[in-house]
Structures are given as structure tokens and as C-alpha cells.
């Protein structure tokens, strides 16, 4: 490197290092949503923060470089000089591609690692079919997870508890410290079930059993929204009355629910539902 190039590069490098350290330290102070109500939200908050931390030096680097160049490498007023004819530096290009590739690999590795963990809502093994159990048991182990069916329709969600004779509720009540398997389906058009504080989101499709997983960690209420455009009242498809409660409270609640729905005739439980076939040609 020649003299002036080295000076410029050194200045930039030092400024970038200092600002990046400050930026990363600030980014580490962030507490990003969705929070800590479930294992999933903890993972997502952590991941969002990690991304912010990784992005900060990149952002600072680009902005710093452009600002520095614009301030220092200016054309003199009224002059029309050419810059040095440099057509590229092979080593720099290879290094740049290699660095971005390494960052990408790290990010992909983290993401795939999180996905492979069963708690994060993949169904690599989608064997968790809801079997209509008649005796209730709150799943505290993975093998014995609590099954919930979310039925979306215009414009609300209904929750069925197949482990408890398939009783229905309009608000989702979950026991704390439980592994939950959520089966999302729809009876009309596409919706998306988004329990914000719990960090789960899954599209509701007619005729599809879309499975996602959840491990509750802390009691408290949560908000459920629809995250897929579903017609006029899409924005109003909100339920703020979902709650994670203690195991004892959940047992009481579900017993009450079973008692009160003893005389209610519910449609037969099914893994998924189809809208009534369109009557055609009539």
C-alpha cells in the first residue's frame, strides 16, 4: 500500500473499530420483543438481537466508508480531474466474497441449528397427530405434549382441546411449563395465527393441519392476531384474552369448560376441515 492509501485505510479502520464497539455495546443493551413467555420467544428475541449485533458493524462500516469518501475524495470545485485508473484488486474481491460467505454460513448455521431444535416449530417429524384423547393430561414431557387445535375462520379463532374430549373455547388458555403442539387449520380462507408474546405464527389453510410447537415458560396474558389478509375485518381479528396460567388453574379452567360444554353438541373432531364443497353448475 502506498502512503496516502494507508493513511486513509488506517483512519477508516480505527474509526470503524471504535464506532462498531460502541454500536455493538449499545445493541447488546436492546431487549427486543417478543419477550420471555415461551422458549420460542426467548429464542427469537435472542436471534433478533444477534442479527442486530451482527448488522451494526456492517451498517457502521458502509455509512462510514461512504461519508468518508464523499468528504475526503471530492472533486475540486470547478475542476474536472480523473481519479486513479484502478480496475479492481483481485485479493480484495476474493477477501470480500469470502468474508460475506463466512457471515452467511454462520447465520445459516445458527438458523438451521435453531430449526433443528424441536422446540422451534419445525415438523421434520410430523408424527404429532392430535389423537382425540378422552382423559386429559397436561404434557410436561415431549412425548406427552398438550395438543391444541386452532380453527381460524372469518373473523375469529376457535381453540379445541383434543386431549379433553375436543372441547372448544374462544380464548386460548395454556398451562405454564408445558410442551404444546399447535395444529392450525381453517374452515374458509387463509388466515395466520400469530400469538405475539409466545413467538409463534402459523398460517391457517383449509384442509391443512399446519403444526407448530410451543413451550410455555411464564404465566401472563398474550395477544393473538391474524397475520394474513383475510377480508374486511382482518384488522379486527384480535384476541387479547389469551393467557398462560399455572397448571392448577389450567386444570380447574378446563374442568369448568368441560362441564359447561357437556350439553353443547360440537361438530365431530377432525384433523382438519374443508369448507363445504362449492356447489357447482346448479
Amino acid at each position: 500500500m502506498t502512503g496516502p492509501t494507508r493513511t486513509h485505510a488506517l483512519r477508516l479502520l480505527i474509526a470503524w473499530a471504535v464506532l462498531s464497539v460502541v454500536g455493538v455495546l449499545l445493541a447488546l443493551q436492546l431487549r427486543l420483543p417478543p419477550g420471555d413467555q415461551s422458549q420460542q420467544s426467548i429464542d427469537e428475541s435472542g436471534l433478533l438481537q444477534l442479527m442486530t449485533v451482527i448488522s451494526t458493524p456492517v451498517f457502521i462500516g458502509v455509512v462510514l466508508f461512504v461519508l468518508y469518501s464523499v468528504v475526503v475524495f471530492r472533486q475540486k470545485r470547478g475542476a474536472l480531474e480523473d481519479g486513479p485508473p484502478s480496475y479492481g484488486n483481485f485479493r480484495v474481491q476474493v477477501a470480500w466474497v469470502a468474508i460475506t460467505a463466512v457471515i452467511v454460513l454462520i447465520l445459516a448455521g445458527i438458523g438451521i441449528g435453531e430449526l433443528a431444535g424441536r422446540a422451534n416449530g419445525t415438523n421434520f417429524a410430523s408424527s404429532n397427530q392430535p389423537s382425540l384423547a378422552t382423559t386429559g393430561s397436561v404434557g410436561t414431557t415431549e412425548a406427552n405434549a398438550l395438543q391444541i387445535q386452532v380453527i381460524a375462520q372469518q373473523w375469529y379463532f376457535t381453540y379445541r382441546y383434543p386431549d379433553y374430549a375436543g372441547v372448544e373455547s374462544l380464548h386460548l388458555m395454556l398451562p405454564v411449563n408445558a410442551n404444546v403442539v399447535i395444529h392450525v387449520t381453517s374452515t374458509d380462507i387463509l388466515h395466520s395465527w400469530w400469538a405475539y408474546e409466545l413467538g409463534v405464527k402459523a398460517d391457517a389453510n383449509p384442509g391443512v393441519d399446519n403444526i407448530t410447537y410451543l413451550t410455555t415458560l411464564r404465566t401472563g396474558s398474550f395477544t393473538v392476531r391474524c397475520a394474513e389478509l383475510c377480508g374486511i375485518w382482518h384488522g379486527n381479528m384480535v384476541d387479547t384474552n389469551g393467557a398462560v396460567v399455572s397448571q392448577a388453574d389450567f386444570a380447574t379452567w378446563v374442568a369448568d369448560l368441560q362441564k359447561s360444554s357437556a350439553n353443547v353438541t360440537l361438530p365431530p373432531y377432525s384433523q382438519y376441515y374443508f369448507p363445504s364443497p362449492r356447489v357447482k353448475g346448479t
Binding site: 384442509g207 374443508f274 364443497p277 362449492r278 357447482k280 353448475g281
Partner: protein, 211 residues
């Protein structure tokens, strides 16, 4: 200059400036090269177009939603009619292909082949319409297969109609001083598209009647 130089169009228009010099970028050779490259690109684009329909076929068949891929009472259409349609499409493409190669040396033969190709294409169209009218099932009664069958054959038929129109213009221009005579290589290029359509017909025949 050869005698095949194009004559001025007979429909002169008011205010039309006098034409003076020749511009090299509009030579027939340039047009032939562009037609060759452009037709290849167009065919690849059309592959993507039909790929969507074949994707729909296999996707819906694999899903078999509500067990309604092949609704009760729906049978595959008669294979013989499908075979006739494919054969006519192949014959049309083959005749055109043969005619296009003869257009420089034997224009009369080429025109005859073109006419026969057009006849085959129109027959293909008629047989396809006949098949639509006598399907034995109705897409309005639901079912994935009937939908894909109507859809795939419908868009193919639409493209065949366009191709037949272009074929008719080639016949009209395959005369002394006609465009097809001046730019014979562009005529040959269009044959590639005819062959492509015939190939799609063949593939859809296998898929729609045998799978």
C-alpha cells in the same frame, strides 16, 4: 441488387417522406439471426408457461385434497381422440418444417406443404373442440384433474390458434416478393415453435391420459 428487392407498399400514405437510402441493420440476414435467437428465447419462456400447468397437475394429484383429484364418475378421456390430436399437431409441425426448408428452392412445394400443415392444424383444433364437447366430465363438478385437463388443453389450444394464424400469413407471404420469400430463414425459425407446440402436445398427452 437481386430482382427480389421488395417493391414499395401499394398503400402510400399522405405525408410520407421520400425514401432514399438503404440501412444495413434491416437486411434479411440480420432479421434471420434475430428471429433465430428470439424464437429460442420465446420457446424457453413458453416452457416456463407450460411448466406451471404441469406443476399444477402433479401438485394437485399428489395432494388429492378432499379425495377430489378424480371425482367419482370421472374417467380419463378416450385415449384415441387424444392420440389423434397429438398426431395432427405433429403432422402439422412436420409438414411445416419440411415446407420451410423447401421455400428457397421449390416455392410451390413449400406452399403445398404449408397448406397441408394448416389443414392438419385446423383439423387438430376441430378435434380438440369435439373432445371438449364430449368429455364425459365437467370441471364445474369439481375435481383437480378436470380443472387441469381443461386448463392445460385450453391454453395449448390458444397457442395453436395463434400459430395457425401465423402459418396462414406465411402462406400468404410465400409468393414472389413476399416476406417469406425475402426472409426464408425467418420462415424456418417459426418451424421450431411449431415443433415445440407438438412436443408439448405429446408430453401433455402422456401426462393427461396415462398418468
Amino acid at each position: 441488387m437481386s430482382v427480389d428487392e421488395p417493391v414499395p407498399p401499394p398503400f402510400a400514405h399522405r405525408g410520407m417522406p421520400t425514401l432514399t437510402t438503404r440501412s444495413p441493420e434491416w437486411e434479411p440476414e440480420v432479421d434471420a439471426r434475430l428471429a433465430r435467437v428470439g424464437t429460442r428465447i420465446w420457446i424457453v419462456a413458453d416452457v416456463f408457461f407450460f411448466a406451471a400447468w404441469f406443476f399444477a397437475f402433479f401438485y394437485l394429484r399428489a395432494l388429492n385434497n378432499n379425495y377430489d383429484w378424480l371425482p367419482a364418475g370421472t374417467t380419463h378421456p378416450t385415449r384415441a381422440i387424444g392420440a389423434i390430436i397429438v398426431l395432427l399437431a405433429i403432422v402439422a409441425a412436420g409438414l411445416y418444417w419440411a415446407g420451410a426448408r423447401a421455400i428457397v428452392t421449390q416455392r410451390a412445394t413449400a406452399r403445398l406443404f404449408f397448406w397441408l400443415a394448416l389443414l392438419a392444424g385446423v383439423l387438430c383444433f376441430v378435434v380438440q373442440i369435439y373432445e371438449f364437447k364430449n368429455l364425459g366430465f365437467d370441471p364445474q363438478q369439481g375435481g383437480g384433474f378436470p380443472s387441469v385437463f381443461i386448463g392445460l388443453k385450453g391454453v395449448w389450444l390458444f397457442q395453436l390458434t395463434g400459430a395457425m394464424f401465423w402459418l396462414a400469413t406465411q402462406i400468404a407471404q410465400a409468393r414472389p416478393l413476399g416476406d417469406a420469400t425475402i426472409r426464408p430463414k425467418s420462415v424456418v425459425t417459426f418451424g421450431n415453435f411449431m415443433l415445440f407446440l407438438a412436443a408439448i402436445a405429446l408430453v401433455s398427452y402422456v401426462v393427461l391420459y396415462f398418468v
